[in-house]
């Protein structure tokens, strides 16, 4: 939160309603008429909430409502009689700046922002709460103990333990690509009712979609969940269906990362088919990992190419038709090429660019950093 030395002018609500301009600055004070504020909000660049006395804490709830209820994205500033002790509260409820009546240069204002390194309540500053940290720590402890116990264990044992432990709150993620048959077969043996999440990017090869239907029927999987991109987001970000040409990352984000984030809300754990031999970036993977609060279960992590091939043979699993055409890893059609003998299995994905992963196996936080 910025501490302003001077107070910037703003219109009162009556005046603001009378002018026809956009990007106006409006001052709110005392009891607020929310219907009028809601109507005005689209034209407002900044709401300034005035505190007549520091002890009058209405402004904190006014800011909270602007952010949570009106979903106001512009600047929210505080002005009036405020004390440095309130700095942390202002920033937490959603203020961007404050112009206190007296002593804006008091170092206590800056200091007040960092008084507490932990918070209990979820609020509009999106700071990670005690509850979130504790939940994460508990999940990490579980992941650590599972890795200790099951590192190197057979795939079906890992899968059995995971589906038992997270019963009703575990799903499997499948691309229905070249190797998908292995983990799906294992799932069908251990818990065939496990939801199978398929990220339907609307850019898949037709052969993949057909394979999806054929394989799931063959294996007797009863719970295939087709996950589409959000229609509004797609219309917004990719109206010409050419996003993949301009920005592959943005395309993956729209069609894979965000849909999966939404779909995962209902699950504690997610089974993947990832294997260490796939690429250099996956060499250190353990069977269990924690990613943005969801536990990833990688039962096939130790498998090599030969094991995969012989598993297909042994269990008579239908193969993806494109495998024979030289595609060992199959994604969306714009970004998948065949791979030459001796190359990394995933070398044909985003070939010619530095991109190696679509992002669904990365932490949201690591992408920001």
């Amino acid at each position: 939160m910025r501490i302003d030395l001077e107070h910037r002018p703003a219109l009162d609500l009556d005046t603001a309603e009378g002018v026809n301009e956009a990007n106006i600055h409006v001052r709110l004070e005392g009891s607020v008429d929310w219907e009028r504020v809601r109507a005005l909000a689209p034209r407002v660049e900044r709401f300034d909430i005035h505190f007549p006395k520091f002890a009058d804490g209405r402004g904190f709830s006014i800011a909270a409502r602007l952010r949570e209820d009106i979903k106001f994205q512009g600047e929210v500033s505080a002005s009036g009689h405020l004390i440095p002790d309130q700095a942390r509260m202002l920033t937490r409820v959603g203020f961007d700046s404050v112009a206190p009546n007296s002593n804006p240069e008091d170092p206590a204002w800056k200091k007040g922002l960092t008084t507490f390194s932990e918070v209990y309540q979820p609020s509009n500053d999106r700071r990670s709460t005690a509850l979130e940290k504790r939940t994460l720590a508990a999940k990490q402890a579980l992941v650590d103990s599972l890795n200790k116990r099951l590192r190197g264990a057979p795939a079906d044992e890992i899968l059995r333990e995971a589906t038992r432990l997270f019963k009703g709150r575990i799903a499997t993620l499948s691309s229905f690509g070249a190797e998908a048959g292995v983990s799906l077969h294992l799932v069908s043996q251990v818990a065939p009712d496990t939801p199978v999440l398929f990220l339907d990017t609307e850019r898949h090869f037709d052969k993949t979609l057909k394979y999806r239907d054929q394989l799931s029927e063959h294996l007797g999987l009863t719970n295939i969940v087709n996950i589409l991109p959000d229609a509004d987001e797609a219309a917004e970000d990719d109206s010409d269906n050419r996003l993949w040409q301009r920005d592959t990352d943005a395309c993956c984000d729209l069609r894979k990362v965000r849909p999966l984030d939404r779909a995962l809300k209902g699950y504690d754990a997610l089974i993947t088919g990832r294997k260490r031999f796939h690429s250099a970036t996956r060499m250190s993977l353990p069977p269990f990992e924690l990613l943005d609060g969801v536990i990833r279960v990688n039962p096939l992590i130790d498998w090599d190419r030969d094991q995969v091939l012989s598993y297909f043979e042994e269990h008579d699993i239908p193969e993806h038709p494109m495998k024979a055409e030289g595609y060992p890893s199959i994604g969306c059609w714009p970004c998948t090429q065949p791979v030459a003998e001796g190359e990394d299995i995933r070398a044909g994905r985003w070939a010619g660019s530095e991109k190696t992963e679509c992002g669904i196996h990365f932490s949201a936080k690591s992408k920001v950093a």
């Binding site: 009891s31 804490g57 904190f60 008084t115 209990y120 609020s123």
Partner: protein
């Protein structure tokens, strides 16, 4: 009981550091009194008649033996050797030096305690049944929910500058041992038809100048929505509560002026927006916090009450309470020995209680709103040993629940707000009723005294209430009858003109005698009063 983790501890330590800095700036003159006062008032530090007063939070009245020990050490090292347990299940020190308070807070932090939000217009310490986790009639232990409320309310960014202070009480049984109906929010834990925990939610109760019983907002809010629901209440109150008049700023006035139906509708509309959001309590978190509060295992050692001394049996009748687990009992320690100071305990007595809890009571103690102490978990087989240990510390008063178990605020002997003294009046009444034997004859009966209209002594909700008033420089006492703090909560009615301090003991004797003369078998005071009306009492009191 709940154990602090690193997060809780960090916050408390950071608060101490912040307050230490504030005190330093005040002493060096960097902060004026006007600037400092609101800061110290956010941390339980008042300036009273003789000295500063420090109020320490005892979350939902639950203490470990080590915490109790630390409270005694503070009384010994920084005060004058005693402390005062309050009607809000906290403790107050009457004599700390301002310059020592940061060190006291450091010491408290060492045992996971603090003075956070024990004053100021914020959400105060949540109170509950002192027998929580031990009472046979509870649906579930209410304390996990109190702890979740404690964390939610601590340093709440939106609700630290409310129109006025805000008090929440929680019970988990039909019997109300936390006076939820006279709280800003009262919560009763219950189960629905499917057996899922939830809360009956009341709001708008309170004492003070305009005593009001709370109205029911919702008959059942599912437990996971608890924080969303109370956030909705607080947000409506913070936005609409009156700020023009300190005496009309509590939520009870807003509920009354808005009307219970309209107020409820506003809360429900706000709740609809918050429900299902970030405030929803995950099952794992509820389980994590609940796991801190587990009842003791069955005790197999036997106990024969009949084989005990008569003194023990008399004490036990008033002091030993049934426990939900076989072989266990709860013990009430009355801090109201006849003629003494209600709610006060010396450092030595505090040490003794800590030691008894350590030795016999699973390290746990409770503070009650009646200003007594409870040992919630005592094996029945150890009751005689506990009794002897209490006797050795002069803590064996056997008047729990009797009329001499008087609730009293510190009054004009200590308090800057008081209009009249409370403690000497309590002492005189206690002596009179004990000497005459009327206390035992009357049986269960409540008598509370407040030294001013702020009603810290809960006089409105006593069968017999006394309110100290100032009439042209003299102390007078207004007598009310018929109040109750339990599930049949009621506000007492004024009997007649104020009485001088000298007249009070006789007047109380008259009231008690009238009750005894008129009651029909087993009747409570309020039942008798409802049947015969105020007049017989009025006549008895004002006949002199």
């Amino acid at each position: 009981m709940y154990q602090y983790d690193e997060i809780d501890e960090t916050l408390v330590r950071e608060r101490v550091a912040e307050f230490r800095d504030q005190v330093k700036r005040r002493i060096t003159g960097e902060l004026s009194e006007d600037a400092f006062k609101p800061l110290r008032l956010q941390n339980g530090v008042y300036l009273q008649l003789h000295a500063y007063m420090l109020r320490v939070a005892i979350p939902y009245g639950t203490l470990s033996a080590d915490q109790m020990q630390a409270l005694g050490e503070i009384a010994r090292d920084y005060d004058r050797g005693y402390g005062h347990f309050t009607t809000r299940q906290n403790i107050q020190y009457n004599w700390p030096r301002l310059v020592d308070i940061p060190d006291i807070l450091d010491k408290l932090a060492g045992v996971g305690m603090h003075a956070i939000q024990t004053s100021g217009n914020c959400v105060r310490n949540t109170t509950t049944d002192p027998y929580a986790g031990a009472a046979a009639d509870e649906v579930a232990d209410p304390r996990p929910w109190c702890e979740l409320i404690r964390q939610w309310s601590t340093f709440h960014p939106e609700f630290s500058f409310l129109p006025r202070k805000f008090k929440i009480a929680v019970v988990a049984s039909k019997a109300d041992r936390a006076a939820i109906q006279v709280h800003d929010i009262g919560l009763r834990l219950k189960t629905n038809a499917a057996g899922a925990l939830g809360f009956e939610v009341f709001a708008g109760g309170g004492q003070g100048r305009t005593p009001r019983l709370a109205v029911k907002l919702n008959d059942y809010v599912i437990a996971e929505d608890l924080l969303a629901y109370i956030t909705a209440i607080l947000r409506v109150y913070n936005l609409a509560g009156r700020r023009d008049n300190k005496y009309k700023a509590r939520i009870k006035i807003l509920v009354e002026e808005t009307g219970p139906e309209a107020f409820t509708a506003e809360v429900e509309a706000e709740f609809a927006k918050l429900q299902g959001g970030d405030l929803t309590l995950p099952a794992e978190e509820i389980a994590r916090v609940s796991n801190f509060f587990t009842p003791p295992p069955v005790e197999t050692r036997g106990f024969d009450l009949k084989a005990q001394s008569q003194a023990f049996q008399i004490w036990a009748e008033r002091s030993v309470k049934a426990h939900k687990t076989e072989g266990w009992a709860s013990v009430l320690i009355s801090l109201k020995p006849v003629g003494k100071v209600p709610g006060d305990a010396t450092a030595e007595q505090i040490f003794a209680m800590a030691e008894i809890a350590r030795q016999y009571g699973l390290n746990e103690l409770r503070v009650t709103k009646e200003q007594n102490i409870v040992l919630p978990h005592i094996p029945q087989a150890d009751l005689p040993a506990v009794y002897e240990a209490l006797r050795a510390a002069n803590l064996h008063a056997d008047n729990g629940g009797l009329v001499t178990d008087i609730i009293s605020c510190p009054g004009l002997d200590y308090c800057n707000l008081a209009n009249a003294r409370s403690i000497p009046i309590a002492q005189a009444i206690s002596n009179r009723l004990s000497e005459t034997g009327l206390d035992r004859e009357a049986g269960e009966l409540t008598l509370n005294i407040s030294g001013c209209i702020n009603a810290c002594g809960h006089h409105h909700i006593a069968n017999i209430g006394l309110l100290g008033v100032d009439k042209r420089g003299e102390e007078f006492y207004q007598l009310t009858l018929g109040g109750a703090a339990n599930e049949n909560a009621a506000i007492g009615r004024i009997v007649g003109p104020g009485l001088s301090g000298e007249q009070v003991p006789q007047a109380i004797e008259d009231v008690v005698r009238t009750f005894i003369a008129h009651r029909q078998d087993g009747e409570s005071f309020n039942t008798t009063l409802a049947r015969i009306g105020l007049d017989p009492f009025k006549e008895a009191v004002y006949a002199h």
